[in-house]
């Protein structure tokens, strides 16, 4: 009873925490990228200020009901996805769904955004969505290959089970036995996070920020929140699968570490063309993932 | 006189070869005409040749050495007629077959007339408007 009550509390509290931390991630990202590029950069809390500003902004253009509902759906979708990954040993709702459930919950958010963008009717936005979906077709395969190898290795698709098996120190983390899968997943993660070289959907110089082109004011604010949660969720999957979870603090540290790697790559890489990006995912990361998967299948 | 005929038709003079052989020969000649000749009338004649061959064969299977026609007189009726006369059935059959042959030939010729009328030729290789 007590445990359940505690869990419910965490379920309510965790999203707020994640939003704030996620916004800090974004701020940190801008700062770190700036430092790498030898700029000063905005303060680390800049994104929080941005969101507040966006929500208080008046009269953003509205193109219809779905246009409004899209960002809401994106935000809510990411919120519900968040509850299905354990964060810092807190199971939240993840007893009620395994990795595959999560994978499909993760789709709700982009879908909502895509529908909103669609109603916006700006061709640049739609091109961005088309690119994003193409990219998704690319990295999803890699992601799934890695996840299958983890499931095969552990014999379970439940996050909590997988985290439990990795308990007992750094040596038990699955990143060691499943190194190839982890590598492949990290590459996929780069695409999921939309960091360079995989930021074609939003590429400002080509499609004017792509999906975001029509959104302003609180729409953009919602999307910012969605993005903030998304970073935590996506890195969190990696943390839970390969880095053994951990307490709340260490969990976020690991999560940020994963994000930091992505940032470093982002800061130094140019952008692929979308076709190249897609082909890239289906060649090297997929091959690495498959080799890892075969190894798992053979050794198991 | 009848002795002479009997000798002539005895196995020593004419074997089965002459009847069977000539019926096969007629058949083959007819078949050859049908297959090689281009003229419709000649083909029709070939058909009658084939028929004649078959008819000859039919009539010759009824023959018995030295027996008379199957028309009974008083003396024949006394004994067992079947010992004295040839088999009458092939004769009846041939009668029918001949009439049928005549009918077929008549049909063939009448169609040939129409063909000649419409196509202006009797060459079978040129009469193929209906094909495929």
């Amino acid at each position: 009873m007590n445990a359940v009550g505690l869990n419910i509390t965490w379920i309510i509290f965790m999203p707020i925490l994640v939003i704030i931390i996620g916004l800090f991630y974004l701020g940190a990202a801008r700062k770190i990228t700036a430092r790498i590029q030898n700029r000063y950069g905005p303060p680390i809390y800049q994104n929080i200020i941005d969101v507040i500003k966006l929500f208080s902004k008046k009269n953003p253009t509205n193109h219809g009901v779905m246009f409004s509902l899209g960002p809401v759906m994106a935000f809510s979708g990411m919120l519900i996805s968040l509850l299905f990954i354990p964060i810092g040993n807190k199971a939240l709702l993840s007893f009620n769904g395994d990795i595959i459930v999560l994978l499909y919950l993760l789709v709700i958010a982009p879908l909502g955004m895509a529908l909103g963008v669609g109603e916006g009717g700006n061709p640049m936005g739609t091109i961005g969505i088309a690119r994003a979906l193409t990219l998704m077709l690319g990295y999803e395969v890699v992601l799934v290959i890695s996840i299958i190898s983890v499931i095969l290795y552990t014999g379970s698709a439940s996050f909590m089970e997988i985290i439990k098996m990795q308990s007992g120190g750094v040596g038990h983390w699955f990143i060691w036995p499943l190194f190839l899968s982890a590598l492949a997943m990290d590459m996929a993660l780069q695409g999921m996070l939309g960091e360079k070289p995989f930021d074609q959907p939003v590429a400002p110089h080509e499609v004017a920020s792509g999906p975001m082109v029509e959104f302003g004011g609180k729409y953009l604010g919602l999307l910012q929140l969605y993005h903030a949660i998304g970073i935590v969720v996506e890195t969190g999957i990696f943390v839970n699968l390969f880095l053994g979870g951990g307490t709340l603090f260490w969990w976020f540290v690991k999560s940020f570490a994963v994000f930091f790697v992505a940032l470093l790559i982002n800061a130094v890489m140019p952008r692929f063309r979308i076709g190249q990006a897609f082909a890239f995912f289906w060649t090297y990361p997929a091959a690495i993932g498959l080799i890892g998967l075969i190894l798992v299948a053979i050794l198991k | 006189m009848s002795e002479a005929i009997k000798t002539f038709f005895s196995p020593s003079v004419l074997g089965p070869e002459i009847f069977y052989g000539s019926s096969v020969a007629l058949f083959l000649i007819g078949l050859y005409m049908v297959l090689v000749k281009k003229n419709l009338v000649k083909i029709a004649i070939g058909l009658t040749f084939i028929e004649s061959g078959v008819n000859l064969f039919l009539i010759s299977i009824g023959y018995v050495w030295g027996k008379t026609a199957p028309i009974l007189n008083k003396t024949l009726m006394m004994g067992t007629p079947s010992k004295e006369v040839v088999d009458p059935v092939p004769q009846a059959l041939v009668l029918t077959a001949i009439v049928i042959g005549v009918a077929v030939t008549a049909m063939a010729l009448s169609i040939v007339i129409v063909i000649h009328d419409k196509y202006g030729t009797l060459n079978i290789s040129k009469i193929k408007e209906l094909k495929w």
Binding site: G64, L115, I129, E140, G221, A279 | W132
Partner: protein, 618 residues
């Protein structure tokens, strides 16, 4: 006995009446069809689970039986048939023949599920096939001809493969009833049994649009009369699935014992089917991504979804069977929904060319909402039946260790997301075209049917256990491995758990939170016009084509061109050319027109016979 006859008479009599009276009044044909379907459903409800015998051929008893699986499939069929008959109220332009054939088609389909012996099965099978052909043809659109011919040819080929399979079984066991065949199947030699199963699976696979035999499906689905397409793709393909189930259930069990035929812990047929299913799902969805016409897109999507079912059947353990049957229902529901919506769109706008549509959300909001619902199910978003079944299938694939096919299946699912977005965007979103300014929302029969279809989609999404429960009962009645770890709202597999209700409530709560956050923000301004957009300073007017819908995934297509080039269609076209060549030679030789040549042939035959007979008897 009598009830079955009433049931058959209800449909066939309805067909006859609709055909005879339909030409007098369009109302009558619609009414009769509607009534016949409802009456049929009522009759079926009273029939319960029972067995009926009919004396049909040479006084032989053919058997029709109803068990749980039959009930499942028949209710599915009758349900979609009801939807179609509802939608047909708005389609007076279809000929009475169409209505009559539709009823016969439903009858044939239902009888397939009921039949318990070879004769009645094949009878129903062929009935279902040709009536569908008639329907494709019945509203006389000239373009449909090649699609109809293609469909008919393939379904005949499939039916004949089934026939060969059945007849081999009959020859080996001398039994026509399935139960007797099962009893004597032990006497059948392995070679014959394998041949029979191969023919059966291939034959049923044609109907289920299995990959090398799928070429008819996209054309036939997209060219069939629009209100009927949902039934066509949703239900008729399931007869193939059902057939595969029957073949496996009755016969493959015998092959399990042969070690040579076991690969990867299952029979080799299962293994082959897993791969075929995965390739079908993957390949078809990649092709669907590049379609320009809505019906074609959904048609390829159907092929792809059927690949999932075949994949799951191939796995053939408790999870696989459950997944296959539940996806059969799921596909029937959401594909019927999507095709019906598209039928409504076509009815209102007259086209399914996606680039010519767009922005219809403004005029047909209800259709849009249900298109999203159908799309959620198609893409397998949790809370819909599509996810329930797909999830079980994935778990089955991973649990069974079919790692590569499962990967393909996942990729196919992602591709489904691609083409689904394209579908919804191109038709409902984006700018509204000038000529569609005055388009009206679909009539009530349509949106009632949308609602009726959406209810089970969400119900079984939120209560996945209910669906699994139904299917487990079926599987247990067939003594097959069944999934037992489920409650009303959740299902547990060896790998993990899924609780539909929690996800649903959670998402509901999240949505409320999102809306609260949304309303916290400031007021919004409605866009002044369609051109009121950020377009990098360009001044645009209504003449500008702002609808990004042609070659939607061009970059993808360019990268995958090598894969898309592999086409079964081309192979079949080559075969067709070859047959035509042989046919011409044959025709020009044996019917050359020269009378003398015919005599030659006669003589040659005579000679050949003579020579051959001399060889036989010296």
């Amino acid at each position: 006995m009598m009830k079955l006859l009433y049931f058959i008479g209800c449909f066939s009599g309805g067909a006859l009446l609709a055909f005879l009276l339909g030409s007098f009044s369009p109302l009558l044909k619609k009414f009769i069809t509607f009534l016949a379907v409802i009456l049929g459903a009522v009759l079926f409800a009273t029939m319960g689970t029972s067995t009926y015998q009919l004396s049909l051929l040479f006084g032989n008893q053919v058997i029709f039986g109803i068990d749980t699986l039959t009930q499942f499939m028949v209710w599915m069929t009758l349900g979609i048939a009801f939807i179609v008959s509802l939608v047909l109220w708005s389609h007076s332009e279809l000929s009475p023949t169409f209505f009559a054939l539709f009823l016969l088609n439903v009858l044939g389909t239902v009888l397939i599920f009921m039949s318990r012996d070879i004769v009645s099965f094949f009878f129903s099978w062929e009935l279902m096939s040709w009536t569908a052909f008639g329907m494709i043809l019945s509203d006389g659109w000239e373009k449909k001809r090649s699609a109809a011919v293609k469909y008919f040819m393939w379904s005949a080929a499939g039916a004949y493969m089934v026939l060969i399979g059945f007849s081999i079984l009959f020859a080996a066991t001398s039994a026509i009833r399935f139960e007797n065949i099962v009893m004597s199947v032990g006497r059948v030699s392995h070679g014959w049994l394998i041949t029979a199963i191969a023919f059966l699976v291939a034959g049923f696979g044609v109907k289920a649009a299995m990959m090398p035999f799928h070429v008819w499906a996209p054309d036939a689905y997209s060219e069939s009369p629009h209100p009927f397409t949902g039934f066509f793709s949703g239900i008729l393909s399931k007869t193939g699935v059902y057939g595969i189930f029957i073949a496996f259930f009755y016969l493959a069990a015998r092959l399990e014992a042969v070690p040579m035929l076991r690969v990867h812990g299952t029979s080799i047929f299962g293994y082959i089917m897993v791969w075929i299913g995965a390739i079908t799902a993957f390949g078809a969805s990649l092709i669907a991504v590049h379609q320009e016409y809505g019906k074609k897109l959904l048609a390829w999507s159907s092929v792809s979804q059927l690949g999932y079912i075949i994949f799951a059947f191939g796995i053939a353990d408790s999870l696989g069977m459950t997944g296959a049957l539940s996806h059969a229902l799921a596909h029937a529901l959401f594909k019927a929904l999507l095709f019906t919506i598209l039928a409504g769109v076509i009815m209102r706008t007259g086209t399914d060319h996606m680039a010519s549509l767009g922005g219809l959300i403004k005029r047909m909001p209800l259709s849009f909402i249900f298109a999203v619902v159908g799309g959620l199910a198609l893409a397998g978003i949790p809370m819909t039946i599509g996810f329930t079944s797909k999830w079980i299938i994935y778990e089955a694939g991973i649990n069974g260790g079919y790692i590569f096919p499962t990967t393909l299946i996942f990729a196919a699912s992602t591709a489904a997301f691609l083409y689904y977005y394209r579908f919804v965007y191109s038709i409902f979103l984006g700018p509204l075209h000038e000529e569609h300014q005055n388009v009206k929302e679909v009539p009530a029969t349509y949106w009632i049917s949308y609602i009726l279809l959406a209810i089970p989609i969400f119900y079984f999404g939120l209560y996945p256990g209910k669906l699994v429960g139904i299917i487990s009962t079926i599987l247990q009645s067939y003594n097959l491995p069944a999934l037992t770890t489920y409650t009303a709202t959740s299902v547990t597999t060896p790998l993990g758990t899924f609780n539909g209700m929690v996800v649903g409530l959670g998402f509901g709560a999240a949505l409320i939170v999102g809306l609260i956050v949304y309303f916290i923000g400031g007021r919004v301004r409605k866009a002044a016009s369609q051109t009121d957009k950020y377009l990098a300073g360009e001044v645009v007017t209504n003449e500008f084509e702002l609808h990004y819908s042609v070659d939607f995934y061009r970059f993808l297509e360019r990268k995958l061109s090598w894969l898309l080039k592999i086409s079964a269609q081309k192979f079949y076209e080559f075969i067709g050319e070859l047959i035509r060549f042989v046919a011409d030679i044959n025709r020009k030789m044996f019917f050359c027109g020269n009378g003398q040549a015919y005599l030659y042939y006669m003589t040659i035959v005579l000679t050949i016979l003579i020579l051959s007979i001399w060889r036989i008897k010296p």
